[in-house]
Subunit: 147 residues, 2 copies
């Protein structure tokens, strides 16, 4: 319940992690990725679109087309991907939405969560997608859930 990382964000990271484990610049059809990673295709379509708009990925249209990483996977951070997806989660709304708390300017609760969130986002920035790459030999371990 109530995830900081929405499904949408998680799927975006998964897609990028998969691409990071493939040969660079090789376009992979979304349909294939979708099956391997168990992402609903129409949903994946929307996500792929956002990633492209933010230049995280690039696509090749038409038959034999597909999607590939437009950035160096060693430099592409989790935070980059979240931002591409218009990341808007927060640990506590009081951090940004000042009018929900009367303790303006000195609230220790506010400060505590603000600091925690900063640290968290810093870690998201330090973590690169290359570190999370999904490799082919990993994929073989996937339990086949098809009927």
């Amino acid at each position: 319940m109530n995830p900081f990382i929405k499904r949408e964000y998680d799927y975006a990271i998964r897609i990028c992690a998969y691409l990071a484990g493939q040969k660079p610049d090789k376009a992979i059809p979304l349909s294939r990725i979708v099956k391997l990673l168990a992402i609903p295709k129409p949903f994946a379509t929307k996500i792929a679109h956002k990633l492209k708009k933010a230049d995280v990925t690039a696509t090749v249209q038409g038959k034999n087309g597909g999607i590939y990483l437009a950035k160096d996977s060693k430099k592409l951070s989790i935070l980059d991907i979240l931002k591409a997806m218009n990341f808007d989660s927060t640990l506590n709304e009081c951090i940004y939405h000042h009018d929900i708390c009367p303790l303006v300017g000195f609230c220790h609760i506010h400060n505590f969560f603000r600091d925690e969130e900063r640290r968290l986002l810093k870690n998201f920035e330090n973590k690169k997608i290359a570190d999370l790459a999904i490799k082919m030999n990993d994929m073989s371990k996937i339990v086949n859930t098809n009927t």
Copy 2:
């Protein structure tokens, strides 16, 4: 949007922080707290009830009654309060809900968020409500928003 700390949790922490700044064992009427901290009263009522059920606070009924901390504020952690409120947020649902990700057992994404969440909750455990206490002289700084 999409806070890890729901309003409910934030209010609960605020109430406890306020009580931690008062004389121990002195029952304070919710109605007073509610005004000072800008919490809708019926909502505060529900929250107070949960806190009491978890023995974080205790109450005195009847006229001149109120609520007070039932624990040593130096030992009462943010995590304790969250648990009292049936905390159910997570950084990423994939951490607990295994069937939403086919990469069972070895997924680096899963592991990354699991570790981040552990660290976060550890910090919530280390932070005690005494550290966040709302003192009277702080309250004087509150901007009066009444009309």
